[in-house]
Amino acid sequence: MTVHNLYIFDRNGSCLFYNEWNRKKQAGISKEEEFKLMYGMLFSIRSFVSKMSPLDMKEGFLSFQTSKYRLHYYETPSGLRFVMNTDLSVPTARDTLQSIYSNLYVECVVKNPVCVLGLSLDSQLFSSRLDAFIRGLPFYSPRAA
């Protein structure tokens, strides 16, 4: 059980925030390129899923898994995208992502007049509280992984 990393994208595709906790493999490209690739993949998955779906969807894309990790996705109606990679033992992290949005992002970024929305988040309060929040999660334990 562990959390690998977390991405926050705005609706235009720029990466507002990235942090990693227990990442064992880097993508082999620069972080800028990786953010673009990740956003492009999510964007394509969204369009893929909406065409592929046999019925009308409400939430749309929720998560995918490979043999090694699971990617959890949460999108707000305003287009903010939260992406968290965990290992396979975490069944769903949707509530976690939602509470990062409502308890941390809204509280520390939206309510902070100095933070310019749409630019990379450099609020120290946000990153330290997020770090503490992730480390406090029941499924955060890098030792076990």
């Binding site: 990393n5 394509s44 893929f48 899923v49 065409k51 046999p54 019925l55 009308d56 043999s67």
Partner: protein, 219 residues
């Protein structure tokens, strides 16, 4: 519990087989007076709802028929542009049938190769070493399961999120593929599969999977 469809993608990302096992009918027909209650727009050679939802008609639904006559792409049955036709108050009241647009075979080819690259990116962006590509993709109305063989062929099954036993089904489809497509002397490798025995056995396997895998805890 249902299995919606099966796709087989070759190692170059080409769709070599597709079968729709169950296509839910989500259509609504209604008579409208001028002006229409919602906004329509052209999208991919179709006329779709872009704003306004009511009576089972939802954003993204396409116009399927007008006054009982099926539309042809973005034109009405008699060749007029659908949007222009619906702008004219003289044509009202009008009865329009809406529903999710069916995927054309071209779109299916495109989606299959799209998944092929998503699969590869999923493995490249892995935070852990030795990861495969996407094996399962989950949404609120369906789950996509993918099994890639050592030779690079991908078997993809779209099923209800609660359907279990899909992993066994994917391996069964691989077995059917090896037995009835690969051993068929008229089948050329990497080309679309047109083998009757493959079709029959696949349908049989889907039926068995649907009956056996009811209400499981997820596969």
């Amino acid at each position: 519990m249902v299995i919606f469809s099966v796709y087989v993608v070759n190692k170059a990302g080409g769709l070599i087989y597709q079968y729709d096992n169950y296509v839910p009918r989500a259509e609504a027909e209604k008579t409208f007076s001028y002006p229409l209650d919602f906004v329509l727009k052209h999208h991919d050679e179709k006329v779709v709802v872009s704003f306004g939802q009511r009576d089972g008609i939802r954003v993204g639904h396409a116009v399927l028929s007008i006054n009982g006559v099926d539309v042809l792409g973005k034109n009405t049955g008699d060749g007029k542009d659908t949007l222009e036709y619906l702008k004219d108050p003289a044509n009202y009241p009008v009865s329009i049938r809406f529903g999710r647009a069916r995927l054309s075979s071209n779109e299916k080819l495109m989606l299959a190769s799209m998944f092929h690259s998503l699969f590869a990116i999923g493995s490249q962006l892995s935070p852990d070493v030795g990861s495969s590509g996407i094996e399962m993709l989950e949404t609120d109305v369906f789950k996509l399961h993918c099994f890639q063989t050592l030779t690079g062929i991908k078997f993809i099954v779209l099923a209800d999120p609660r359907q279990s036993g899909i992993d066994a089904l994917l391996r069964k489809i691989y077995e059917i593929y090896s037995d009835f497509a690969l051993k068929n002397p008229f089948y050329s490798l990497e080309m679309p599969i047109r083998c009757e025995l493959f079709d029959q056995n696949l349908k049989g396997a889907l039926e068995i999977a649907e009956k056996a895998g009811n209400f499981g805890a997820g596969s």
